[in-house]
């Protein structure tokens, strides 16, 4: 059994790619071995910025010999066929073997493929692995790059170590030849290192200041950072991503702590942490839970002076960045947020939806409405409107220009520094939330109003101008906006009809566009007219006529536009339903049940919709529910088969105005019963069978009960009213012939089934339910 070491050395591999590269190396190597018939355990893989390495243990010295059989013609086939087979195999007639195939003697060419030296297999596998390596981004280099066919690698490939039990596996890829020699740390070690094999690889590199195992470097950074923070009396702010990134940037990591001028702490801590992390890859520290004036950088060398110069250099870089941040912080606050907001007029939100300032106006109006209508309970309309007006103002500040990730957060700080109401500052800070699944959903009323208004406006706006997501394309993140809206509505149990909220944005956008369209047309015609002025036409008369005729066009356009707008609002509602289904699927809610409730067409209140869906799901899971669904489908099938278009549903519908709706009142029971009997005897020309009568009676009870319960939002009550139909409908199907010879009976019974169907559909559209 042999051990194999492979090292692919290159110029610095981006830290973010190393994990994927290790996995790819292991996978490609395993594939090569499997293809050669070599069974191997998972190889170990390592990476540093300058090398990818793999160790595979217990490889055989040779691959197994295999015999390959190739089937030829039948033994008694014509000579011609046999000769052809001989030609293609290169064998003579007496070298063929005869074997039995389903009773027919058949010729076979049997070739013994001898085992190969694993070293030979590896020598072919290495170039194949290198050529097939799926780097996220790769490049060409050097003289060979005169042709675009030259090798591509993440950065120039500079060396290959390939040793099988200490013997070099000879191979070559685009001028790079395998050997036993590698390099140590770029600065701590000079000259070649000759590796003996898999066993001394890590050790020899360690002696040359390279820790080849990334996991070991990560652990060192983690511990080192904790230690230097503790020595300074601080707590490290842990950051797993930074640990991995720094391990990918170093071969000999040394965490070092430095301090920055504490005056910089006047800058928001998010800014300091962000610039330290993303620009410099530094950890930050806390003292008593507050950001401290310290950073931890991870050097790749043991500095001659103990790292003093390194810390000092890094401190200066951070100071310059923080000085810039403080410059922005001070510059920005020379203006109020309201003054910054004026700049939003210069930023286009979307070509068809105007500027960000236009959007802000719409959002402010909508936020105010959400508060005034009590849709967001406890939200002060004035504060909601004010917060909405200022929420986007930080987009034009220097700070957000430099740190776009901090949009909202920065505005929140500026609002507080200006002395605005805390509720306003919080709303500005948090109005982008929630941005992801599982993220914190705002609950502060003013924030909720602004956040929801912002998202609903985006959705209604883009739908109004027909810019909706298609397939995988969702350039304006409308799916995200819908999902966030749903999260806000559900978490805060906001009760309202969605289309009402869409209407405001939708009509503003459409009317604005139409007015603009009419004005543009007018302007263009005016300029056209001016150019023909020379011809002596009376311009003013022409213009007056033009304006009047434009108005004639404009009014019908408004009508038509609103119709289109309304249609798009309903499209948007469907879009919401789809998002809701996706969101609820994860919570284990069946999408067909959501469909069933949505299909009623009158359900535009998401909170009510979901409680309805939940009640329905519980019901369908019960025995009564399952049986009722089966009966419903049976009834629906019969009605379909009989092509029943009769007076179906009439009874159910007139039931809406039926005074008998108060059937539950015990005082009225006698009266109600009498009326019912009268009604049925009036309607029927024959005596109903007992099962038929029973169904009618239960329907008389259940219909109004289900309706009343649904209206009172007691959906489980509505479901139990439906449940009462189960036994009678089952009995009806068992005992009553629907398709009776007597036309009158048939009509009445089909009507009864239609009435049953309608009663069930009034609670949810059962035809949408699967199963």
């Amino acid at each position: 059994m042999s051990d194999f070491l492979l090292e692919l050395r290159s110029e610095e591999i981006p830290a973010r790619m190393q994990k994927g590269a290790r996995q790819d190396l292991a996978r490609l190597f395993t594939e090569q071995m499997v293809a050669a018939g070599i069974e191997i355990a998972s190889p170990e893989v390592f990476s540093t910025p300058r090398r990818l390495a793999l160790i595979a243990r217990n490889l055989p010295e040779h691959t197994e010999a295999v015999s390959e059989e190739r089937k030829g013609p039948k033994a008694d086939a014509p000579d011609k066929a046999i000769e052809g087979f001989l030609r293609s195999t290169g064998l003579a007639r007496d070298q063929l073997e005869v074997m039995d195939v389903k009773g027919t003697p058949t010729l076979f060419a049997v070739t013994e493929v001898p085992g190969r030296a694993v070293s030979d297999v590896l020598a072919e596998a290495i170039p194949a692995i290198v050529r097939a390596f799926p780097w996220p981004k790769s490049m060409r280099w050097g003289e060979a790059s005169l042709s675009t066919e030259s090798l591509r690698w993440v950065r120039p490939l500079s060396g290959i170590v390939a040793l099988l039990d200490g013997e070099i596996v000879p191979c070559e890829v685009h001028g790079v030849t395998s050997g036993a020699v590698t390099l140590g740390h770029r600065f701590h070690h000079s000259g070649d290192i000759t590796i003996g094999g898999a066993d001394d690889y890590a050790m020899k590199l360690r002696a040359a200041h390279v820790i080849v195992d990334h996991a070991e470097r990560e652990a060192l950074i983690c511990k080192g950072a904790h230690d230097v923070a503790a020595q300074a009396g601080l707590d490290l702010v842990e950051d797993e991503g930074l640990v991995v990134e720094n391990a990918g940037l170093t071969e000999w990591p040394i965490p070092l702590l430095g301090h920055f001028d504490e005056d910089f702490l006047a800058v928001p801590p998010e800014v300091i942490q962000l610039t330290a992390r993303t620009n410099q890859k530094y950890f930050v520290c806390e003292r008593d839970g507050k950001l401290a004036d310290a950073f931890i950088c991870t050097a790749n060398i043991e500095g001659r002076d103990g790292g003093e110069a390194i810390v000092d250099g890094n401190r200066k870089v951070l100071a310059a960045r923080l000085a810039d941040a403080r410059f922005f912080w001070e510059q920005d606050r020379k203006k109020t947020l309201a003054q910054h907001a004026e700049g939003l007029e210069r930023i286009t939100f979307h070509e068809k939806l105007g500027t960000v300032a236009d959007k802000v106006e719409r959002v402010a109006k909508l936020a105010r409405w959400l508060a005034e209508e009590g849709i967001v309970p406890g939200a002060d309309p004035d504060l909601a409107e004010q917060a909405a007006h200022l929420a986007k103002a930080d987009l034009v500040t220097e700070m957000v220009g430099e740190f776009p990730e901090l949009q909202g957060v920065i505005g929140g700080y500026y609002a507080r520094a200006e002395g605005l109401d805390d509720a306003v500052a919080d709303a500005i800070r948090d109005h982008y939330k929630p941005v992801g699944q599982g993220e914190e959903v705002p609950t502060a009323p003013v924030t909720v109003a602004v956040s929801l208004a912002d998202k609903l406006d985006t959705l209604a706006g883009f739908f109004a101008v027909d810019e909706r997501p298609t397939g995988s394309k969702d350039p304006f993140a409308l799916r995200r906006a819908a999902l966030s809206s749903i999260q806000l509505i559900m978490a805060n149990e906001l009760r309202f009809a969605l289309p009402r909220a869409f209407l405001s944005t939708s009509s503003d956008v459409l009317m604005g566009r139409m007015t603009k369209g009419a004005n543009d047309l007018y302007d263009r015609l005016v300029s056209d007219l001016r150019t023909i002025q020379d011809r002596g036409a009376n311009i003013n008369t022409a213009l007056q006529g033009l304006r009047a005729s434009l108005d004639d066009v404009y009014d019908p356009m408004k009508e038509e536009g609103l119709k289109v707008g309304l249609a798009r609002i309903y499209d948007l509602l469907d879009f919401f339903a789809d998002r809701l289904k996706i969101q609820q699927r994860e919570a284990g809610v069946r999408h067909d049940l959501i469909d069933a409730v949505f299909a009623l067409g009158n359900e535009d209140d998401l909170v009510r919709l979901l409680s309805r869906v939940n009640a329905l799901q519980t019901f369908i899971a019960s025995e009564d529910g399952a049986n009722l669904l089966a009966a419903y489908k049976r009834a629906a099938n019969i009605l379909k088969k009989e092509d029943w278009h009769g007076i179906e549903g009439e009874i159910a519908r007139t039931g809406e105005e039926d005074p008998l709706a108060i059937v539950d009142d015990p005082d009225l029971k006698a009266v109600v019963d009498a009326k019912m009997a009268q009604r049925h005897s009036n309607a029927l020309s024959y005596t109903p069978e007992p099962a038929e009568k029973a169904l009618m009676d239960v329907l008389d009870q259940a219909e109004p009960k289900a309706k009343a319960a649904a209206q009172a939002e007691d959906f489980s009550g509505a479901m139990s009213a439906l449940a009462s139909l189960r036994a009678p409908i089952d009995r009806f199907f068992d005992e009553v012939t629907v398709n009776a010879d007597d036309q009158d009976k048939r009509t009445q019974r089909l009507n009864l089934l239609a009435r049953f169907r309608a009663a069930v559909d009034a609670v949810a559209d059962f035809s949408r339910i699967e199963g």
Binding site: K137, M139, P156
Partner: protein
């Protein structure tokens, strides 16, 4: 007297000139136009095209109007110097050559932490991209190191290696000063006192920042932009890629000034950038057109 790069900014530049000259580079002078980066120099952009070997080094003054800080930031300037080296094809020891040049100007790699951190370079304006790193010295980006893969929309065959040193930042390290204006531009010599970077450029930064951000007449700038674009097209029609390219550089700088004046909206920005890109790409295309037959005849294995 032996040159000491730690003495002054100019000694450091002269040391780099000596170093790269000794490694077979042409030492060129700056391009005489306002530009945002040394990459715009024709010695980089146009010479990166085609199969001919090309090795050059030069200082290029760079203008980034939006980076102006009225002389108040210790290391942000709207006018600064880049040292640019271009080696085509990229030699296999390019990283080592670069590191040796740092040693030549006095950076001790066992005292200072030198790191190659992923930073792929892309200039949509030039239709160019490359892979490489920003080189960090104790966390400060001191050099952009790029293997050009495409220029003007054409594959680079062969690939050129480009090094862009931030001269002020390096000098601050070597001289151990925290503020760029405190750098010694020259050392005392021949009985004359040394001159600081601030004495040379502080007033310039103050005035230029004010002009870039507040004063420059925007209507005139818009007009200049249109004229440069038109002149570029005029030169392209006459199949003169180099003058066309100069006008593309001009348009690009005017655009940067308009940005600093804050008069270009987000939407417009994209359209201006697209215009500059078309001018620059058109110039590269015209350059290719003009040279490709000769190149193909001299380098049979090469093709456009």
């Amino acid at each position: 007297m032996a040159r000491d790069p730690a003495n002054s900014f100019q000694d450091m530049i002269l040391t780099l000139h000596d170093y790269w000259s000794a490694h077979g580079c042409l030492i060129l002078q700056p391009y005489d136009m306002r530009m945002g980066a040394g990459t715009f120099h024709t010695a980089t952009t146009l010479r990166a095209l085609g199969p001919e070997p090309w090795n050059a080094a030069f200082v290029q003054p760079c203008r980034r109007p939006t980076d102006g800080r009225y002389g108040e930031n210790p290391n942000r300037l709207q006018h600064y110097y880049q040292y640019q080296v271009i080696l085509k094809p990229s030699p296999s020891n390019l990283q080592q050559l670069y590191l040796d040049s740092l040693s030549a100007i006095g950076i001790d790699p066992l005292k200072h932490d030198i790191r190659f951190v992923e930073d792929d370079w892309e200039s949509p304006t030039l239709g160019a991209w490359g892979l490489g790193w920003e080189v960090w010295c104790d966390g400060m980006e001191v050099t952009q190191f790029t293997y050009f893969q495409q220029m003007g929309g054409y594959d680079c065959k062969p690939v050129a290696g480009e090094l862009t040193y931030g001269l002020e930042r390096l000098a601050m390290y070597i001289q151990g000063v925290d503020n760029v204006y405190d750098l010694a531009f020259s050392a005392p010599a021949a009985g004359r006192p040394g001159v600081s970077y601030g004495e040379v450029f502080l007033e310039n930064e103050k005035q230029m920042s004010a002009w870039n951000f507040e004063i420059a007449e925007t209507d005139a700038l818009f007009d200049l932009f249109r004229k440069a674009a038109a002149e570029c097209r005029n030169a392209l029609e006459a199949k003169l890629p180099i003058p066309a390219y100069e006008q593309a550089i001009e348009a690009s700088h005017i655009f940067n000034l308009l940005q600093a004046r804050g008069v270009i909206g987000v939407q417009e920005r994209a359209s201006y950038m697209a215009q500059v890109r078309d001018l620059a790409r058109g110039s590269c295309e015209a350059y290719m057109e003009r040279e490709k037959e000769r190149w193909a005849s001299e380098y049979p294995e090469w093709s456009a």
